[in-house]
């Protein structure tokens, strides 16, 4: 199948890659305000922007938009590149491009827009939770996380809420890409209904327990009743499970 981006990819490869000397020469011209040099620098590095954008293909965002964002990052890099530092342009530009794409993804992935700083804190919180659980076998408290990350407890709470938002789905959306498929709300189980299998299991277990009760010693029955809070101890009371109790369990 022909991709709508194919012509763009073809055009992006037209300009030859720049040598280090060419990069310096173009940068010097850009500093003097030469627009054609700027365009040349951008066009020669479009492939870099595409290759970085492709790495985020599975982020769920549209590929056209990702490439557009990476190009914006590339343009920013061209503006800010300082040839005197001696680095290759691609080394410098890849950070700007990645930052631009990541920022776009974090602001467009969710139905509710989460600010970039909150998204960054959420990432740190998520990482901290997983590392802490691995180290200590339990989840850290909000105050512990606040101490470690040097933020307030409220910020941690908000971050955890925003992590939950990332898993939000449209209630009446369809499952998969099929328009004729089922809606998401149709796949959510009703937890108030007892399944026939569960009901049968419960009846079977009641019967089993009834049999077991008749085999308990008087002491065991008394201790079990007290432990489960089934009766209050009273000298006049007979603690034992009566035949009628056992029969009732069996019937149940």
């Amino acid at each position: 199948m022909k991709n709508s981006l194919d012509p763009y990819f073809k055009n992006a490869g037209r300009r030859k890659l720049l040598t280090r000397e060419q990069e310096v020469h173009l940068s010097q011209r850009i500093e003097k305000g030469d627009e054609s040099a700027r365009a040349h620098m951008i066009e020669a590095n479009l492939r870099l922007a595409i290759s970085i954008a492709k790495k985020y293909y599975y982020s769920g965002c549209n590929m056209d938009d990702l490439i557009q964002e990476s190009n914006i990052g590339l343009m920013k890099a061209v503006e800010k590149f300082d040839w005197r530092r001696g680095f290759k342009f691609s080394t410098y530009a890849s950070w700007w491009i990645r930052q631009s794409v990541c920022r776009y993804i974090s602001s467009h992935r969710n139905t509710i827009k989460i600010p970039a700083h909150a998204s960054s804190l959420s990432y740190k919180v998520k990482k901290l939770i997983s590392e802490y659980e691995e180290e200590f076998g339990q989840r850290p408290t909000n105050s512990e996380m606040a101490d470690i990350l040097g933020v307030t407890e409220n910020m941690i709470k908000d971050s955890i809420d925003s992590i939950r938002l990332q898993h939000m789905v449209q209630y009446d959306g369809t499952v998969g890409n099929d328009d004729g498929g089922r809606h998401i709300f149709e796949t959510i189980p009703d937890e108030n209904i007892t399944l026939p299998d569960d009901e049968l299991d419960k009846k079977k277990m009641s019967n089993v327990i009834a049999t077991s009760l008749s085999r308990l010693t008087k002491r065991e029955e008394q201790v079990m009743r007290l432990r489960f809070g089934l009766s209050e101890i009273d000298e006049k009371d007979d603690f034992s499970f009566k035949e009628s109790d056992i029969e009732r369990v069996r019937r149940q």
């Binding site: 277990m205 089993v208 327990i209 049999t211 077991s212 029955e221 432990r227 489960f228």
Partner: protein
């Protein structure tokens, strides 16, 4: 270093805290002793676990699970099993 209290099952402590609405082992021991059957908290726990083990044995037999001592001990001290038994008993108000 202090000794760990009770058996730590994968799903929580089964033998340390008291059940919801029920009594702890020390309280059970006190009440039983008051009523003439003198015992301490360890005995109360052992008696309770023995009762649970009997129920676990019948449940395993019904479910076709292994009846080995290790399995029965694990199941009888599992808080989820105890909570299932308590649900059934409380549900029918014996």
């Amino acid at each position: 270093m202090s000794m760990p209290k009770g058996h730590k099952s994968k799903h929580g402590y089964a033998t340390v805290s008291s059940m919801d609405g029920g009594l702890g082992y020390r309280e059970i021991a006190e009440k039983m002793s008051e009523s003439g059957d003198k015992m301490n908290h360890s005995t109360a726990r052992n008696i309770f676990l023995s009762a649970m083990k009997k129920i676990a044995r019948d449940s395993c037999a019904a479910a076709g699970a292994p009846l080995c001592d290790e399995n029965l001990k694990r199941i009888s001290s599992d808080p989820r099993f105890q909570s299932g038994v308590i649900d059934i008993l409380r549900g029918i108000d014996v």
